[in-house]
Symmetry: none
């Protein structure tokens, strides 16, 4: 399976959390998935609600499985709510179609994983995710 290395995944998580602290966001949770949608690394900050893993993963999982960033999924959900509902049926309810789910691509544009961040507004979550990805020297698509 193509995957972000654990070393880089750790960097993504740390840099995303640092961005959250810098912007004084609410406690964040950050997941890194591989190109198959499987969990590589996750951290939940103290004070976050207990369900944050499922939300973070849902954002990143939808991005990987559909090959669409969270923002693109949101746009589609706003146009065709039934379509994203059908996607959720197809993927066992594991798709959370909002910003904060960010695709990670390699130098040739191939998807090598995705990052999901949750805890603040969806737009701030996406900012933190991008900071994590760029902090690891990778390219994100929010």
């Amino acid at each position: 399976m193509v995957a972000i290395s654990l070393r880089k995944a750790r960097t993504i998580v740390r840099k995303a959390l640092e961005k959250g602290r810098e912007l004084e966001l609410k406690p964040l949770s950050v997941v890194v998935l591989d190109a198959g949608g499987h969990v590589q690394a996750f951290e939940r900050e103290d004070g976050a609600s207990p369900g944050r893993f499922d939300i973070a993963r849902g954002k990143a999982y939808g991005a990987v499985m559909l090959g669409m960033s969270g923002s693109a999924q949101l746009a589609r959900a706003e146009q065709q709510a039934f379509f994203m509902a059908a996607m959720n049926g197809a993927f066992g309810g594991k798709v959370v179609p909002v910003p904060g789910g960010v695709l990670v691509r390699d130098g040739k544009g191939a998807v090598i994983g995705a990052v999901g961040v949750t805890g603040d507004t969806s737009d701030n979550d996406a900012l933190a995710a991008m900071a994590g990805i760029e902090g690891a020297g990778l390219t994100g698509e929010a």
Copy 2:
């Protein structure tokens, strides 16, 4: 596990049911969950429909897992129906995003559990839940 003690949970249930009788509401069902979303106490009044446990738990469970009261969930559902649908996917269909799901916080503001009430209108359910929580000397966020 941080949890409301069983002694306090019983008080919440009784005071909520008393409020229901005082206001002449329909038969109520009341659940108390711990800070991990697990059931601590539940009672269903005679005459309530059989599915009330799942509804009461759904209100309280969503509150705990998302760290949002039922009213806040309702507002989000009205703005972004697809988002609360996605949350229900992520949490296995166990989220009921309407008033009557009330967060319980300790003196420092940390969530120590949630109460879910169902049986009458959502707003009356929330009133009964708040009466139960306050009757036990705790602070609720409806």
Copy 3:
């Protein structure tokens, strides 16, 4: 739905918990289901593990749905493990076929609900359940 009244359900829960304290059992959890297998009342003692609701309900649910006490289910599981596995398939995984699931019958022998107790050994759980049922003036089948 035929059901034990809430007043009697409360008595069952309290008397079962009292029996547990009298015998110095580990923290117990007690559920009362109606004749349709739906939750009427539940309490989990402080110190019990968080998953006890599902275990207590599973014991009582199997009793109601199969019309067999927990002891009878255990005997069947020991003779034909595949049969109880199939039952669990049929009932969505909600059957826990061990003592501590006790049928409650009315004066004519009709099932009016079931009690599930968990926390100590299965046999002690069943003792506590029977004490609760008898303390409410009802007849149990362990």
Copy 4:
């Protein structure tokens, strides 16, 4: 929510992975759950198979929900295979009853979370989990 702090959870993960490298184990995956069974932190080493998150979580989740270490669950599964199968039904298939699921207790003996390790033999997984827990100054029950 009672939880191991993120700072300590990170230490557990690192120390468990270091133990794996010291013993030359296969690539490991390590999860830390809070006292409600919710994910706090996770890392999967490069080269591990993609399904390792669910296995690690299953080991730790069963420990929290049942209040039993992986070794105790294994013993029960060997005596009563149908019982652990029923537990898996009750908990939605999320229980993996083998060593490598380790309860973490506070100074008073209360469960504050659990660690799950997978990748090598179950016994080696448990060794790595214990090394992580002890490396964070906490007490484990394997």
